[in-house]
């Protein structure tokens, strides 16, 4: 390789290395802020590295699994309450007054955005269902005993007060 090419090669490799270093430092510094949501454990105990706890009245996102058997639905309206837990053992109650997304199930991962109230509940204005990376035909899911029924709404609930 002639010296001019060698110089250009060194410059190009240096450029990539430099940008990679800057980007990794930046991402490292921003690490916790890049998470989309708090986990229920982080709400009760604070973030693992900084100990920052969300305050009452703050708008936050909570992500976790809907606890099996925790869902309480009002028969006359869309109001619904359910607990969200995570592997760390934390749990938080979420209340919501709108149609839930198609993928919402007990045992399913969700991300809820809303305001933290004084009694430690999250008054959600938006509930997003998180899909996992598993895809399978219904027969296979049936055989594995997976819950895959969609939520049904009665006419009364749909017409009920918001």
């Amino acid at each position: 390789m002639n010296p001019r090419r060698k110089k250009r090669l060194a410059l190009a490799v240096g450029l990539i290395g430099g940008v990679a270093a800057v980007a990794s430092l930046l991402l490292y510094a921003l690490n916790t802020n890049l998470n989309l949501f708090y986990t229920p454990t982080e709400i009760t105990r604070g973030k693992a590295d900084t100990g920052v706890k969300p305050e009452v009245g703050q708008r936050i996102r909570v992500g976790g699994m809907v606890t099996e058997g925790s869902m309480v639905r009002d028969p006359n309206s869309l109001h619904v309450e359910f607990a969200v837990h995570d592997a760390g053992g934390g749990s938080v109650i979420v209340t919501y007054d709108d149609l839930l997304p198609d993928l919402f199930r007990e045992g399913q991962g969700i991300v809820a955005q809303g305001v933290l109230t004084a009694d430690g509940k999250l008054e959600a204005s938006e509930v997003l269902a998180k899909h996992d990376e598993n895809y399978m035909p219904p027969e296979v899911a049936e055989a594995m005993g997976k819950n895959h029924e969609k939520l049904q709404y009665s006419e009364e609930q749909k017409g009920g007060s918001r």
């Binding site: 998470n35 198609d102 996992d132 895809y135």
Partner: protein, 248 residues
């Protein structure tokens, strides 16, 4: 070691080679995409939770993974063009950029239209979605830089530097779903372990991913040929060829 490659840096040889390769890429791309799409959309079983809505995966995943692969191809070409100053490599990078931008847009668009019924939102500022959007802007930046200089050697250098710097975004897209908690699901297709998808869904998906790669290859060849002609319009071989094909 690379001596055998050197003749292909010559525009005329590169043009002839692309001419020969193009029908193969076109034929295989059409065959693969047709097979994968018909199999995926009509014959693959429905998903246990999403029903038929999951079928967008047969377009979304090939588009998304190939948007990253195309970027790596473009950046590699730009790197070669920058270090060894091979013009054909610069033209390749310029040829890939608009194709990559369209494929990235397809990935974002199909993802959004799936996200609305499944997640409950079109868009969320999640690490995966945001970094894929940055990829679209990188492509648009490369296209804009290449187009904005009259002198194409200078244009290729400017666009090439941006393309190389942007490579840092590729691992960020790839690992965003593992490094941070995000709404987007982790990858289904695993290289080192078993994929988390039943095989009668996985095969059409893999066929379509391969088909998208071939399609990008075919489109790149078409654009590469046009780029060679545009940059060499004054050369005798181009004039002779044009005359032979009946140009006035």
């Amino acid at each position: 070691m690379w001596k055998w490659l050197h003749p292909y840096a010559d525009p005329e040889r590169a043009y002839q080679l692309s001419d020969k390769l193009l029908p193969w890429f076109t034929f295989l791309a059409i065959a693969f995409i047709a097979t994968g799409t018909v199999w995926g959309l009509a014959f693959a079983p429905t998903d246990y939770q999403q029903g038929d809505s999951y079928r967008i995966i047969f377009i979304h995943v090939p588009a998304a993974s190939m948007s990253m692969a195309a970027y790596m191809g473009m950046a590699t070409a730009a790197f070669i063009g920058l270090v060894w100053q091979i013009k054909a490599a610069d033209w390749t990078a310029a040829a890939i950029a608009p194709i990559g931008a369209v494929v990235t847009f397809i990935a974002l668009f199909t993802g959004a239209s799936w996200g609305k019924p499944m997640w409950g939102t079109w868009w969320v500022w999640d690490a995966r979605l945001t970094s894929e959007l940055v990829l679209l802007f990188l492509y648009l930046g490369v296209i804009a830089l290449y187009a904005s200089f009259e002198d194409k050697v200078l244009a290729a250098r400017a666009a090439g530097i941006l393309a190389i710097v942007g490579v840092i975004n590729i691992p960020i897209i790839k690992y965003s779903v593992e490094w941070w908690s995000s709404l987007h699901q982790p990858s289904t297709i695993r290289i080192t372990e078993k994929s988390t998808m039943s095989t009668d869904m996985l095969y059409p998906l893999l066929i379509n991913i391969f088909g998208f790669g071939l399609m990008i290859g075919a489109l790149t060849l078409v654009r590469f040929k046009a780029e060679i002609l545009a940059r060499n319009a004054m050369r005798p071989w181009v004039r002779e060829m044009a005359l032979a094909r009946g140009a006035k």
